[in-house]
Amino acid sequence: MAEELKLVRGYPEYMLESIERVHAARAKRIEEGPPPAMSMEEREEVLRFHPDHAPGGKRPLKVGPNKGDIAPNEVADLLEAYPLVDPAELDLTVDIDAEVLILGGGLAGTTAALWANEEGIPPDRILLATKLRHGDSNSIMAQGGTQAADKPYDSPVIHFLDAYGGGHFTNKTDVLRALVEDAPFIMKWLTELGCLFDRDENGEFVEDWGGGTSRPRMHAARDYTGMEELRVIRDEFRNRGFMLLEFYPAVELLTSPEGRVNGAILWNMEIGEYKVVRAKAVVLATGGFGRLHIRGFPTTNHYGATADGLVLAYRAGAVFRDLDTVQYHPTGAAYPQQIVGLLITEKVRGLGAHVVNREGECFVYPLEPRDVEAAAIIRECYERELGVVTPTGMHGVWLDSPMIEEIHGEGTIERRLPAMFRMYKRFGIDMRKDPILVFPTLHYQNGGVETDPWGRTNVEGLFVAGEVSGGVHGKNRLMGNSTLDCLVFGRRAGVAAARYVKELPDQGPLTLGHVEKFVEELRTAGVPEGRRSPILLPDYRGKRVLARMIDLL
């Protein structure tokens, strides 16, 4: 057996030399500032190292509405897959009848429920079904903030321009305009519901810079922004008496013979029983695909981020866009092993921390758009070989967190970044005193189901909101625009679904015709029979146990 690794201040002894170099170079780095932001040409050059641009990893889809479009292999494997249950084996007798069915219990789904209600649908006619607990989502983990151009030095037009450029001018402009124009309203709405955003001594919102923003407009609640937003609107949800089903993922949508979405099959993950829900409209707010570990990256995402919504919508005929790009957050934890891949919020850089190599040099402007920043870190580690290698073989670079205390004064980290401070403390590292080791981590599904500015899709009866949608961020999202996306389009999808429902006399009979048709298409395309989706949960069981597991009961 190997010697147990000796840790000093939470780090293996061999890393200390590099840490000391980071300390030694700090004063000079603060004095000189980071290198200038990259030119467009330099950005292009470094993006070769981004996982989206590196060769391999993607393929054209063989079937469905986006046949021929490029998607990551891991996503294509799920879209080109057979249903979990044979449509012929299901009894479609209705168990629950609702006006609006919302799939997903994060910020987007919860907001949709509240606004469908505001628009006149009674809470006991709105069902929210979620795979895990209500609130277990990527939303609740959002740390950095929510963008809204509400200060006199800012405007929605500048917010638009920042997001458009950050998205490489590929964003769907009508949807993006809705995002930025609704943002101040959303801040007002949340504040009136009792959300506590950081304020200064005059009661004004504290607003920080984010990567790729030309004005500081990031509203935060310490580094628990998503949690604060979600727990407030979830409390409001609980007060109003909606129907709620937890641990009930949707495994298939239902459609009328004309192809209108009119319900879903939900599955009780604990018992195995399915329920047939009839609804006049379905709001898909199922989040993204981080747990697919695209290109072998660790992820910041919650346990349930397995792209179920994409699978279901695709079978129902929904058109996607920008599915070929994946957002890797530049700074995931690379050490210690227990937290590999977890998010180190961009706010750490927003507050002044440099990204520094093994030698203590700041090698990149800290607030490039995320794809550029991530690519620069990969280049530093794997081409220039100037990263630090961890005991498990990961490469990483330093994020010089002690700079925050130097710049803003002692106590800033505990006050502004309590979640992160707490996490590192749990593993023996004091981020106020020592830098932390980071490497890009799979963070966000940039693309998804295409919508109009009201969350409507090309499929009648199907509305989408949040990460499962595509277009608003184009091929790269900026920090602080995802919680905003969930809130803006959760509201818009909820309102639009309610209005649609009021006009629709009858949702028609429930069928799985679209699934049967899709299965035919899969067979014709020669997709291997064994491949099934949605996968619902990832599988991290130990390899030794799996090798000896038998199912007897």
């Binding site: 980071p34 200038p36 190292f49 590196a54 060769p55 391999g56 607990r133 277990d136 609740i140 509400d150 006199p152 030095y153 405007s155 929605p156 037009v157 500048i158 638009f160 321009l161 920042d162 458009y164 001018f169 402009t173 124009e181 309203f185 504040t191 009136e192 009792g194 506590l196 009661g203 790729g212 030309s214 500081p216 628990y224 998503g226 407030v232 409390d235 409001e236 609980r238 007060n239 604990e270 072998g296 660790p298 346990y303 227990q338 977890l342 927003g350 800290p366 794997y382 710049i407 803003h408 979640a419 707490r422 949960l537 991290y540 069981r541 130990g542 390899k543 146990v545 799996l546 597991m549």
Partner: protein, 266 residues
């Protein structure tokens, strides 16, 4: 070259993205999951250890990063009489741990219309009279995996100090362990949620937000948006670059120090 780098990254992450392979493990500990012994790798979290042992979570795992409270766990270590609380995703395994997850806390939550509730201390007692049963035993505080001063915020609630409750409870992830252990049967996290919302509503929406909402609703930016959308791609790119470069001339506040990119001073 890019492809080779991607392969190296995938290899380095193998244990994180699939299950752990025994061949990679040098150090082991023994833990007891609901009383049954399992030998697990030494350098992983409780959550990873439960998975290594062969469990596939339905309940008991959520965000896996310390924000959602789904993985609340209680444990004892051999030879220690204390009952400890932890988040399974944020705690490293120790040899001899006896653990069980508590993935659900039965809790009563009163319904209220927040806009009709006075932002006064007495409002808390109206909906949560049981907080008066607090015996100040501090068990809730000891049970908190976030290390919050839970009892102190219940005492603040009793005094009607909404701001105090809001500040002391702010980092609460609502896992429910405090309420499971409380001899007075208080549901602390619902009390705190109500107090934070009352306090939050007592703070006015900043004037600049209200003004901006009114501007947008009256269509102040419509013309500017239309002009922007009528520009060519090259013209929009130029505008974008200019804003990125000049950053509206902002440089004096503290945040701008980090945005210095050759132009600013800060």
């Amino acid at each position: 070259m890019g492809q080779e780098i991607m392969e190296r990254i995938r290899e380095a992450n193998e244990a994180v993205i699939t299950g752990i392979d025994d061949a990679d493990i040098a150090h082991w500990v023994s833990i007891y999951i609901m009383g049954k012994a399992y030998r697990v790798p030494a350098d992983i979290t409780l959550m990873q250890a439960i998975e290594y042992a062969g469990y596939r979570f339905v309940r008991g795992a959520g965000c896996r990063a310390g924000f959602c409270g789904a993985c609340a766990t209680v444990y004892r270590v051999a030879g220690d009489w204390r009952l400890k609380a932890a988040l399974a995703c944020q705690t490293r395994v120790e040899d001899g741990m006896y653990l069980v997850q508590i993935p659900f806390a039965p809790a009563e939550k009163p319904s209220y219309r927040i806009e009709e509730e006075a932002p006064a201390g007495t409002t808390l007692l109206k909906h949560f009279p049981e907080i008066a049963r607090c015996v100040a035993c501090n068990t809730c505080t000891k049970a908190c995996p976030q290390e919050l001063e839970v009892m102190d915020y219940i005492q603040a609630a009793l005094r009607g100090d909404l701001k105090g409750v809001a500040e002391l409870s702010f980092d609460c992830i609502q896992c429910g362990l405090c309420s499971i252990r409380c001899p007075a049967e208080i549901v602390h996290y619902h009390v705190a949620q109500f107090a934070r919302r009352l306090y939050g509503r007592s703070l006015p929406v900043p004037g600049h937000v209200v003004e901006r909402v009114e501007e947008i609703e009256s269509g102040v930016y419509a013309e500017e948006f239309e002009r922007l959308m009528s520009l060519s791609r090259e013209e929009i790119e130029e505008l974008y670059k200019k804003e990125q470069r000049e950053k509206g001339g902002l440089k004096s506040d503290d945040a701008s120090r980090v945005t210095r990119n050759g132009q600013g001073e800060g």
